[in-house]
Symmetry: C2
Subunit: 120 residues, 2 copies
DNA sequence: TTGACATATTCCCATATCGGCATGTAATGT
DNA sequence: ACATTACATGCCGATATGGGAATATGTCAA
């Protein structure tokens, strides 16, 4: 088997940096495809393909306006990722605490050593 | 160009579901490779390869213990993902509020219609 | 040293990717 | 009807993937 399809879930879709840029841009307000092309300096077919992937996993919505299509980010779809990463939050906070504590421990010891060294 | 390497950044490394399972498992406490194999029911070479990817992007740490190797999740490395997804939080909250408001609006209107219909 | 155990790496294959380029389709204006 | 604008899709090639099977590396114990 090869790598999972980019359309298999949000994690795979968002692995592509350009798609992350597109999402960041479209979450503020909706944009036409042409605007994405000029602002992010990508080829039009490239943008359309990325939008296709994002659409397939529900990360963006489309709306037609004459010849234009207006895409916008469906922020709600990013929530599962946010929640998955959130399960690690307490652990990195613990890691930081442990680092802090070790640093303070080291400080105390060095202070003791210094006072001892002055003796000799 | 093909898809970006799985080792290119945390987003790509974490796109693989099995690697997410491994991270979830190793964040609680460190485990030997063999334990990962039996608990997640994967082939040993497969686990070693996944761990290699996770190591390359700094998502796990290793420590040798005799013939065994003890892997643990470096939770701190997941933080960038958490922060990226967090930038969308206010938007999905807004979306939810708008849905709520529309529902309440609808309720009010329907109540008005009902009171009107009783008249006829 | 040899053997057993634990883990890592290599090779092969089927598959999906992304970029570039060309072409297709849909809506508008004249 | 036709040309034009705005997107979408199709085809190609180079590349990296993950699974499977085999093999290599590393560590301990007798």
């Amino acid at each position: 088997m090869a790598r999972a399809a980019t359309t298999s879930d949000v994690f795979n879709a968002v692995a592509e940096p350009r798609r992350r840029e597109i999402l960041t841009m479209l979450v503020v307000r909706e944009h036409e495809v042409g605007e994405i092309v000029t602002i992010l300096r990508l080829d039009q077919p490239s943008v359309s393909k990325h939008l296709r992937v994002l659409r397939d996993v529900g990360l963006v919505n489309v709306r037609r306006n004459g010849r234009h299509k207006l895409y916008s980010t469906n922020a709600e779809a990013i929530r599962p990722m946010h929640e998955w990463t959130a399960t690690f939050e307490r652990y990195w906070k613990n890691q930081l605490n442990r680092i802090k504590e070790r640093a303070e421990e080291k400080m105390r010891k060095e202070r003791n050593n210094d006072s001892g060294n002055t003796k000799h």
